[in-house]
Amino acid sequence: MSALAANRLPMNRLLAGFDSLQGLQHALERLHEAGFVVLETYTPGPVRAEDSGSRLPLAMFAAGMAGFVGCFGLMTYADVVAYPLNIGGRPAFAWPAFVPIAFEVGALCAMVAGFLGCFMVCRMPQLYDPVDECDSFRRASRDGWFVAIQTGDPDVAARARTLLDALQPTSVEAFCA
């Protein structure tokens, strides 16, 4: 374990790893029952299969619509108000011709909104996190299912360790934040 961290702060957190999603879920239930503060889970894949509860899709739809309407409006303004030109004897407000560009711009807005929005709500980019100090944590992006809990004073930490050891974790590590 990290000597550097040891002589600075008290080890006030625990990171427990399990070798399967089921193991992690079971552990989470037990921890909740015992009233521990579960900080975060670190998993190689989504914990819940269905993607529900994210507000991003709504944001992307809104951005897309804004882009479409805005672009369509801009073209209408340009051709009807700002600088009307006789192009091949066609009417100034050639709305069918405006649709393709408006669609593309709308789609672009939605994509950008989705990308930036995703980074925002995922708190990315965040290049350092205390949990990185744990050596076992590297398995989180491979096949390890981890949970991080808050353990204020040493006896809480001891209780937590005993509870977790009962759940056959692949690893239990203390770290500080």
Partner: protein, 980 residues
């Protein structure tokens, strides 16, 4: 005209100031060398620099004396940005055609026809317009040469002073003056003066494009030389035998106008009928109602049969089948017929034609005989041959050659080059340091017609005074000045000598009469009167006997040859040598506009392939571009061939004037020189070679033998009488969009296909007016020519004897222009007056507009063509943008002229007046009509109401502003079978 006189005086001084000429000589030592190299891009830039410098030299050299007006104060009657117009004339082989030169800030930028001039009536041909580039040609020589080294005018004076002494001693024995045909009374007077001083001196006039046959025929028929003037507007039936009325005859512009006046049935009550019998396609043949193909062998036989049946009412021979109906037609239209024989035919046929015309009572109605404008040797060719013989014999001691290039144009068999070596003292006066100039002991740069005073007669004798348009760009002397060198007495100013001659005709030598004559471009009352000469009674016995039936004219029309004896050629192949429709006898070879001008029928540019009949090509397995060895006797030439539908199978046609060796950077080694084959009477032998030449033609596809009706509509007079609207729009389709531009004017154009004779005048006019670049052979081969206006040529019927059609195509200025919708940056849009305008500065060059143009009238600057032009900067039209690399361009309806009219209208606060486009101005037949459709009284509006009016590719629904009047032909119902 005060400024003119002042300008002239300074010119006089400048030209005679040896210091100046010396200066001019050493001003551009490198130029001659530079021009010798082939034309690369770097080279071109250097040339441009050189020519600009020359312009500067003309403009701002102290040596011109104090009477040049500095640019800071505006010269009188020159208003910046407003053009001035000065009348003068363009002289070709002696015959003048009136022109008006447009000046901007004292610089000539455009040439138009002179409406006051009988030979022009406002029209102008390609040569006249191309004068602009000849005038500015950076290849024009600027230095006097003695042998091959530059000399100063002083040396020339010195040499001439002792030459005068020598000549005077021998009464001028051995003095010969060789010129082209001269009609200029002033020059003639001067030559006479020289001959008075040196009684033994002789003057020879000679042109390689011979018109001897006509003169000889007149002397046969009337005992003396007479010129024939046709009045085609009076002719109900016109029979043209190998005719050149519309292509190369003097007065062709006037003839074209008269011809067209009888061709559109919706305007003329009685449409004329035109028969053409010819061995090789000509302009009049292509627009004739009946074109009969007859080889040289057949022509005289047919003409004889014709004569027999008309002159002594012999029963018409059965063969060919169309002859009998033709004769009946001629007889029926008695008094309103004209039979015309081309200059290339032997004099006997001309004489027959004169006879037949008299017999049909046409004289005085459809044609007149006049005294020739200028005295001429009966046969120029004989005179020339005699001269060269004398040179060989060493009888010629002193030879002056003016405006003639015998070393290039004379038959090689005469050995002009060797003969010249035996002349101790010879002077060439020419614009370029050309083939002859390099062989004579002295060369003197010839000032351009726009740089000196002179005068010349039109085809009908009318005199025009040629007034200088600018200071000499390159120095040089005029013919008058050089002739002056022979007269001991100091010559008076040429203006004086010209004025003196016309004093009688002009109101008492008063400046007004003179000024008016200069302003109008004609001297009144100088036209020759009709001659009353009577036909020789003993004529008929005279030669028709020694003109055996079935005779032909071998190698006929070969310029400069004596008229060949008429012998029975059997089935041998005859070579027809003709003047090039663009380069004439070769004098225009250094003119890029003319080199890149599509020949009317072949559309070939930058080359002069031999025209052969499809049958012959099939027999010898030839395709366009295959090289053949043409040999007559021991002379031979290797040239590419071009398959010409409608060419007689027993003859091939070659165009003279290409293959120059000392024309200049543009014209050297372009095409093949056929002069080596002139003067030979033998049959031509064809030998296949392995070589091929890539021939650049602006028609890039194989022959198409059908004319799609949605493109070019045509019919017969019978159809027209049955239903005058036979060609007009059947139904008007409903249109989705109704936004028609509502401006003060609605510009539109109507093109009368009945009038178009495919003479190309409009193309050059457009090129000159709109600063259109010349791209060169390599680019034309890659289909990148730039002409905004092109004349499409279609064939219909069999490939051996097709009917041909001309259709000028320019931007149609569609109401619903397909090009506009597809431009992503709005670089081509519609304006309020219905113009489809091209915004060069906005163009990014996607080229989608061209892809989407059904008429393919858009041209693209694949390279920076404008920067590669040899013409100096001051020769461009300042009112038209010069387009940059990567930009699309197209016909603008001469928007700069429209803008000018708008400005005038605003200034005088009146509705916009008449606007004439460049093509319309130049057109000899008034095929183009442009104007304001909103004004119902305008001519264009009237023409659009014509029952023949139709839109090209109507199905595209583009609603073009440019429409056509359908072509109506008037075939003889009796000979429908052999139609075409």
């Amino acid at each position: 005209m005060t400024s003119r006189e002042k300008l002239w005086r300074s010119l006089e001084q400048a030209a005679e100031d040896p210091a100046f000429l010396a200066h001019a000589a050493q001003e551009f030592p490198g130029l001659a060398a530079a021009l010798a190299e082939p034309l690369g891009r770097r080279q071109v830039l250097r040339l441009m620099a050189a020519s600009i410098a020359l312009g500067g030299l003309a403009g701002c050299d102290a040596k011109y004396g104090g009477n040049l007006i500095p640019a800071v104060t505006i010269p009188p009657n020159i208003i910046p940005a407003l053009p001035n117009f000065y009348a003068t004339a363009h002289v070709l082989d002696g015959y003048a055609s009136g022109v008006v030169v447009k000046h901007v800030m004292g610089r000539p930028v455009k040439v138009d026809g002179n409406p006051e001039h009988p030979a022009s009536l406002g029209a102008i041909d390609v040569y006249g317009q191309a004068q602009l580039l000849d005038f500015y040609d950076p290849d024009r020589s600027a230095e006097i040469m003695q042998g091959s080294s530059p000399a100063a005018l002083a040396n020339l004076d010195a040499v001439f002073s002792d030459q005068r002494a020598q000549l005077a001693a021998g009464h001028g024995a051995g003095l010969r003056i060789l010129t082209g045909s001269v009609t200029s009374p002033t020059v003639i007077a001067q030559i006479e003066a020289v001959q008075r001083q040196y009684p033994e001196a002789q003057s020879i006039q000679w042109d390689p494009i011979s018109r001897d046959a006509g003169r000889k025929a007149a002397s046969l028929a009337y005992g003396r030389a007479l010129d024939t003037i046709a009045h085609l507007d009076k002719a109900d039936v016109l029979l043209s035998i190998d005719g050149d009325l519309l292509s190369s005859a003097p007065g062709r512009l006037r003839y074209a106008r008269d011809f067209a006046s009888r061709r559109n049935p919706s305007r003329t009550a009685s449409m004329s009928r035109v028969y053409a019998i010819e061995p090789t396609p000509t302009l009049i043949g292509s627009v004739a109602d009946h074109r009969f193909i007859a080889g040289p062998a057949d022509i005289s036989r047919i003409t004889l049969a014709l004569a027999a049946s008309i002159l002594d009412n012999a029963p018409t021979t059965a063969e060919p089948g169309w002859l009998a109906p033709l004769v009946t037609d001629l007889k029926a239209a008695r008094g309103r017929v004209l039979m015309h024989v081309g200059a290339a035919q032997p004099p006997e046929l001309h004489a027959l034609a004169l006879q037949i015309n008299e017999a049909l009572g046409a004289r005085g109605v459809t044609y007149d005989l006049i005294e020739p404008p200028a005295p001429q040797a009966l046969l120029q060719a004989d005179a020339m041959a005699a001269l060269i013989a004398d040179m060989h014999a060493g009888k010629v001691r002193h030879l002056l050659i003016v405006d003639s290039n015998p070393l290039y144009t004379s038959p090689r068999s005469w050995g002009c080059a060797e003969a010249l070596k035996r002349v101790p003292f010879s002077v060439t006066l020419a614009r370029q340091y050309d083939e002859t100039a390099r062989a004579t002991t002295w060369f003197v740069p010839h000032s351009h017609d726009w740089e000196a005073w002179s005068d010349a007669r039109a085809y009908d004798g009318t005199v025009t005074v040629l007034q200088p348009q600018a200071l000499p760009l390159y120095g040089g002397l005029s013919a008058h000045q050089v002739l002056g060198l022979y007269l001991a007495a100091p010559p008076m100013s040429t203006e004086e000598s010209v004025r003196r001659i016309w004093a009688a005709n002009l109101a008492g030598h008063s400046t007004d009469g003179w000024s008016e004559a200069l302003a109008r471009g004609v001297i009144p009352g100088t036209a020759s009167a009709a001659s009353g000469a009577r036909l020789r009674s003993d004529l008929r016995a005279d030669f028709r006997t020694d003109l055996p039936s079935g005779a032909g004219a071998p190698a006929t029309g070969a310029p400069g040859t004596t008229i060949p004896p008429i012998t029975a050629p059997g089935d041998r192949l005859t070579l027809l040598l003709r003047a090039d429709p663009n380069l004439w006898d070769g004098r225009f070879a250094n003119n890029p506009w003319l080199q890149e001008l599509p020949r009317p029928l072949t559309k070939v540019v930058w080359d002069n392939p031999v025209l052969i009949a499809p049958a012959l090509a099939a027999r010898m397995q030839l395709t366009n571009g295959d090289c053949m060895r043409l040999s007559i006797d021991d002379a031979s030439v290797v040239a590419p061939v071009w398959i010409m539908p409608g060419q007689a199978p027993d003859c091939i046609t070659a165009l003279l004037g290409s293959g120059r060796r000392a024309a200049g950077s543009v014209g050297d080694d372009v095409g093949v020189d056929f002069y080596p084959l002139t003067g030979l009477t033998g049959a031509v032998a064809l030998g296949k070679t392995r070589d091929r030449v890539a021939l650049a033609s602006t028609v890039h596809h194989d022959l198409l033998m059908e004319t799609p009706s949605e493109i070019l509509r045509h019919g017969t007079l019978a159809q027209f009488h049955a239903d005058p609207h036979f060609a007009a729009t059947a139904h008007s389709e409903p249109h989705l969009y109704r936004t028609v531009p509502a401006g003060p004017a609605a510009w539109g154009m109507s093109i009368d296909l009945n009038a178009c004779i495919g003479c190309n005048a409009c193309i050059v006019a457009c090129q000159a007016e709109n600063n259109i670049s010349v791209v060169g052979k390599a680019q034309v081969l890659r289909e990148r020519e730039m002409h905004w206006l092109r004349i499409d040529r279609y064939f219909e019927g069999g490939v051996d004897a097709p009917e041909s059609f001309f259709q000028p195509v320019l931007c149609m200025h569609c109401e619903e222009a397909p090009c506009e919708n597809v431009c992503p940056v709005g670089a081509t849009v519609h304006d309020a007056e219905g113009l489809n305008v091209m915004v060069y500065n906005r163009c990014v060059g996607t080229r989608f507009c061209s892809n989407n143009c059904p008429y393919k009238v858009r041209r693209f600057n694949f390279y920076g063509y404008a920067r590669q032009q040899t013409r100096p900067a001051q020769s461009w039209n300042p009112d038209v943008t010069v387009r940059a690399r990567g930009v699309m361009e197209k016909c603008t309806y001469c928007i700069q002229r429209i803008a000018e009219a708008r400005i005038e209208a605003d200034r005088d606060s009146r509705p916009v007046g008449e606007v004439r486009t460049a093509c319309q101005n130049a057109c000899p037949t008034q095929a183009f009509t442009f104007g304001n459709l909103a004004d119902a009284t305008s001519l264009v509006a009237e023409r659009k109401r014509s029952s023949l009016n139709f839109a090209m590719l109507e199905g595209q629904g583009t609603r073009p502003r440019t429409t056509y009047e359908a072509l109506v032909r008037n075939p003889n119902p009796a000979i429908k079978a052999t139609r075409g």
